[in-house]
Symmetry: C2
Subunit: 192 residues, 2 copies
């Protein structure tokens, strides 16, 4: 097995186990045994358990970014549709990002501080995407905003992220998701 094959194997096994048991309940020993590598090998490729987990989470976030990016750059959509799709796609993809979602509990405990950089990067990136959409909407005369675009973008993010906890950590996804589309429409209508 080549360098990259071994590395990928470790990451995919780690992803599976972290998904199944969570960060703390998954040991490096278990990852080593399941991937049929020695523990030393894991530490040859990753400097720590946290770094390995970070990579797993980063992969999930890259998927999220890719799907959201598709929405933002899809020129068959109006700005309004983009905003709506952005919110819907985000929720749907997040539902399967088990490892990232686990880190949302950060507020309660003090694990996952090491993931803060990743989270902040995502925040900045999403803010940029929303600004792009909103500016596009303003240019096309779809939106008429009387406040700064950056602030508006922040508020959107605040709402979407505010819903992450009840949706995913309190398992209200099934209950609330049917309303989500209607709620997004009101939000967007408020920007016209």
């Amino acid at each position: 097995m080549s360098f990259n094959q071994t590395r990928d194997k470790i990451v995919s096994v780690a992803d599976m186990l972290f998904r199944k048991f969570g960060f703390q309940k998954t040991s490096m020993d278990e990852i080593a045994k399941t991937s049929r590598k020695a523990k030393g090998s894991l530490y040859y490729h990753f400097s720590s358990k946290e770094e390995l987990f970070s990579e797993v989470v980063q992969n999930e976030i890259n998927i999220l970014k890719a799907k959201l990016g598709d929405v933002v750059t899809n020129n068959e959509y109006t700005a309004e549709t983009k905003l709506l799709e952005y919110m819907m796609v985000r929720m749907k993809v997040m539902l399967h990002s088990d490892n990232y979602r686990e880190t949302l509990q950060a507020g309660q405990f003090d694990y996952f501080e090491f993931i803060d950089d990743i989270r902040k990067d995502l925040d900045v990136w999403e803010r940029e995407q929303l600004i792009i959409i909103i500016n596009e909407g303003i240019d096309h005369g779809e939106f008429a905003i009387d406040m700064e675009v950056g602030v508006l973008s922040d508020m959107f993010l605040m709402i979407i992220k505010g819903l992450e906890i009840p949706f995913f950590l309190q398992n209200k996804y099934q209950e609330y998701f049917p309303y989500f589309n209607g709620m997004a429409k009101i939000l967007i209508k408020g920007m016209r």
Copy 2:
């Protein structure tokens, strides 16, 4: 001391201690000693620790209801202003409802199931208030809604409650509150 005086003393001491140490870290022994009553007295007035805590929480919720009720019945406000004020007042009052806020962690742990009834009552009540405001807005021609009022009310509640966790449990209140007013305005504008 009369029956009611003793009872009030117990409740106010319990409120103080629960506020300070939380439900689990406050013992009935401590409440008894601090209020200079025998433990038996506590159990003469309240059937259990949970019931005592429930009363403390209920008091906080009654305050919240009173202040929100003032907004809803204030006829100097338009429906739009009522909605805006409702959201603002709710956040501000909630900030001081320490004991109720503690129960928001319910999703993570299994304490506080016994408070579910109280929480559901509040949900129902708030839903009613929002429906009142929205209907008023429709009657006065302020709002033009193309969906059922009950559903719209649910969505409003979902957003407000969704923000409780980041605001209060993740201590983002100071950071996010300045944006809250602007966000509420957009939401409300979406209903015109």
